[in-house]
Amino acid sequence: MIGRIGLGRVIARNLSSTESGIAQKLTIQPAIERSPTELLNALSETVGPDTTAPHFAYIDDPITIPSTQTAKKTYFMAKEFGKRAARELATEWPTLFAFDRDQPRLPAFRPQHLADPLQVDPTEKSLLSIIESREVQDACILYERMRSENVDVSEKVQLELFRLVAYYNSSNVPFAEWESWAGMRNFGENDHSVWNSGGVADLLFETLPKTDETVSIMISGLCKFSDHSSMERARELYKEHRAAKGKIHREAFNGLIGSSSFSVARKLIQEMAAQKISPDVFTFNSLLTAATKAPKFEDRMKAYTEVIGEMKAIGVEPALSSYYIIIKNLVDSKLLDNEKRDNEEKNAAFKRQLTVAVSWLDEILNRISTSKLTPVTSSCNLFFAEAIGLLYRASNEKLAAKLLSIYESKSNGVKMPSFTIESIFYNRYLQLVIEQTASLNKIYDLYTSMVPRLVGVNNTLSSLIYRKISTSSDSHWPLLRRVIIDGITAGQISGVLGEEMRKKLSDVQLHALGTSEREQYTSLVQKLVAVWIEISQFTEEKMRRLQRKLSPSQISECALLLTRIGEQQKAYELLELLLDENASIGEEATVHPKGHARPWAMAELFEDALRQKDTFGAATCLQIMSLTANRTKLEPLANRIFEKCNVNPEQRRIIEGFVRLRPQ
């Protein structure tokens, strides 16, 4: 039907074009010029990231897919360092890669060493090319070499170098600005550096004439890498230059404003306005930073509203980083600590401040939800992390969901680094929802959509879910199973959470599970017990570091789980370990000598053995229980064995004798 309509349309169109063809001239539109990546961009935007797979960087052999934050970092860095090593090899020994007859010849596959500042010709051209490649320290070395060899450097080149060294404080480009190595960019840590006094920047500043530009660059550099003395110097320079009727640039003003108190900052912006210099978003960010120094909440609030009002009045759109500064510093930092809020008054103040912060955040979210978000400053992406932190503190799930939808919307071009800040963001959101919601189904859906792709499996999250499961009146096998499986991959099984796993598994009502679920339960228990036993058997010298001996409580719980899935034989083999002295002594020990079997687990095992009329099982349980119980407690148990099981007189005599020999 549709095909016929379609065909009809085509024919009709052809006819009409033939009829009107005589009157109208057919024009072929010229092809639209597309850049080489436009097609790929369009495809990428349509397809987006695969939400059913791990991050693209980890798509590889499934066994290597990392699930915790640490494993993600290790994997990513290992990959990146591998690439860097390969590139270094290709640079160092290009002849080993001489089979290069590709046409066209692609220089990207033939990495070159950077020019050595001690080897290159000491010319301005070499210096400029090093400056161009942002090799700050190399440029400094070459400049100093040229000076020592009395090679003249023109003022223009000196100015270029001065810009570079002032912006980067005579040090190499920080990790945060490494373009091609994402791992180092996000995981690398630079010390917060202070102004390198007496460095090449200072030398160049003395050499170059004191123009508006050079003084502004110097002040900006001193403010960017500020400590007490560099700030003093910057202010001094500003005063001197103003006295000499000079005028400094906006960036220098921004630096000075950001490191002053709000009252001084106000004076500075008045001077800016008097000199007819227009502000930009960085100026207002500096002003907001200055406002954060006000100790009183009311003063800060007033300052923030005034600054935002000013931005609105002159039509400068606040960046996300502007909101970040406000959100981060609005509530008194002293009140954030539970312990420090030791009286009612402080609690009330905290609540009041938090309410204002949440209300403002709501206003901000309303405002940004309609606009396209682009990165303006380096700290723009921190807004989302800070906002979710605030909403977590305020336990406001509704606003958190709104924040999340803005972050994930297509109009948002500001993304947090995936495995560091973004992971914290999602983790906070997930924890907030888990805390606030009562529905295990909702938790399950959210958990499976976020862990481990966005949020690494972590102990806090797992224990939160275990706690939620135990407080909930419902049971949710898929959620429990998923958390335990994630826990296995994240190496949680040998710690406190391993105990939690056993507890939760023994709490599961097997009869309430479906057939396939029961199979899942069985295989999960088998897997866990097998792993625990295997880890306990790492008794060889080189493996002992990884060994986790079985504790008696663990053995009793495992045995209980095994009987639940019908593996009585294995369970009693395990329980035998508790009675085998050699198992806990010497280098080959697999059982921890301290601790006791869990009484509740043993009681259930005992009951189970009685139900099965298993004299051997019941006797083993009795023997294990005798390690912690006295004769009075054991006698009724022995009597129950006689009642339930088919005990012959000799066996009866042995058991009675055994119980009699126990201490009172």
Partner: protein, 385 residues
């Protein structure tokens, strides 16, 4: 079955003796045979025990003493069992004795089990025992994290005390239903260095385990909602420094702003491509992949500016080169042009050079010679008929 029972009975007998022995030891009757606490427990730990005792019973001297004795007895037993080897060779690997962690877990487990029969003193003892072990654990972990022994000792005490304080506060907070984990994290982060923070977290985790009984699963915290009457952020008076109608100069350093922008874009780059198209975009921009749309003219160099006309239509050059329009040479040159026009490996300039060479070769003398030879051939052919 009987065999089993008998074997059980034999084992039971031997176990019983051991039980009796151990019970006498723990009863503390046999003081003389036991090693002195100082021989077994290191000084740090003894100090730590002092600290605990002081903390718990600052006034009551007898209680302090009895607590100290209990702790020391416990620790001596523990040391005997599992830490002899560890203290003998003080290598860091042995220091990280997993047995201790297992023991801690057990202690914690015991503490939990004993909830059902809660004699207050026993519970208190369990907690104290846990604390001492915890101090030791933190001490070892601190040593492993690179602190010196002295630092580690101080750290272990302060951290465990802090954690204890924190937990007491936390329990209070829980009872009041105002527990806020996020806040703790925030303040802790500012107060402690990363290393210390890690140790603190471990301490708190163990503490929570030890005091687990008291941690009540509080209901969800009450949300702080938006207050519509609160001061609005966007509807306040401006500073009034810059006026909208006045003209201001964009007096900027330029490069500074541009580099800040560059840093902002890089900082926003996350962890590289998130799907294979983004990866291809990255390869394209780095010059590792042929650009779309794919054709065979990618990076052709100078030839990219040469039209196919110059490559294919070569006969138009012949008249200017003085090649005759008819005859065998013309015919031959026509074939040369066809051959060259089909050659994709030769530049247009090279092709023209070829033609020029042929033109030079077929100079007037050669033309005459060829003409003569051609005529002779034709005559010979006619005669042959």
């Amino acid at each position: 079955m009987l065999r089993n029972l008998c074997s059980v009975a034999v084992r039971l007998g031997s176990r019983r003796q051991q039980q009796l022995l151990s019970s006498t030891t723990s009863g503390g009757d046999d003081e003389g045979k036991r090693p002195k606490p100082k021989d077994v427990i290191d000084e740090d730990l003894l100090k730590a025990i002092d600290g605990v005792a002081n903390n718990i019973h600052p006034q009551n001297g007898t209680e302090k003493k009895s607590l100290k004795n209990t702790l020391i007895n416990r620790l001596v037993a523990n040391e005997k069992a599992s830490f002899d080897a560890a203290s003998a060779s003080a290598s860091s690997e042995i220091l990280d004795d997993q047995a201790l962690i297992g023991l801690l877990a057990d202690v914690a487990g015991d503490a939990k089990v004993e909830r059902k029969i809660p004699p207050k003193s026993a519970q208190l003892r369990q907690e104290k025992r846990g604390l001492v072990l915890l101090r030791k654990e933190i001490f070892y972990q601190a040593v492993q994290s690179g602190f010196t022994t002295e630092e580690a000792r101080v750290k272990s005490e302060t951290i465990v005390n802090d954690a204890q304080q924190k937990l007491i506060e936390q329990r209070k907070a829980l009872l009041n239903d105002v527990r806020e984990k996020a806040e703790q994290e925030e303040t802790e982060q500012t107060e402690r260095s990363e290393k210390e923070q890690k140790l603190f977290a471990t301490a708190l985790e163990f503490m929570e385990k030890i005091y687990k009984d008291d941690i009540i699963n509080s209901d969800a915290r009450k949300p702080v909602l938006v207050d519509n009457d609160a001061v609005k952020l966007f509807q306040q008076r401006p500073l009034g420094v810059w006026k909208k109608n006045e003209n201001y100069e964009d007096f900027s350093l330029g490069f500074w702003n541009k580099w800040d922008q560059r840093a902002a874009v890089i900082a926003n780059g996350s962890f590289g491509p998130t799907n294979s198209f983004e990866e291809q975009i990255e390869w394209t921009s780095k010059g590792k992949q042929w650009e779309y749309p794919i054709d065979n003219e990618f990076k052709m160099g100078d030839e990219a500016n040469v039209s196919f006309i110059d490559h294919v239509f070569l006969e138009r050059h012949l008249p200017s080169l003085g090649i005759p329009k008819t005859g065998p040479i013309a015919h031959f040159m026509h074939l040369v042009c066809v051959g060259l026009s089909k050659n994709p490996y030769m530049t247009a300039a090279k092709k023209r050079e070829h033609l020029k060479w042929f033109a030079d070769y077929f100079n007037t003398e050669k033309q005459k010679l060829v003409h003569k030879l051609h005529e002779q051939e034709q005559i010979a052919a006619q005669n042959a008929l």
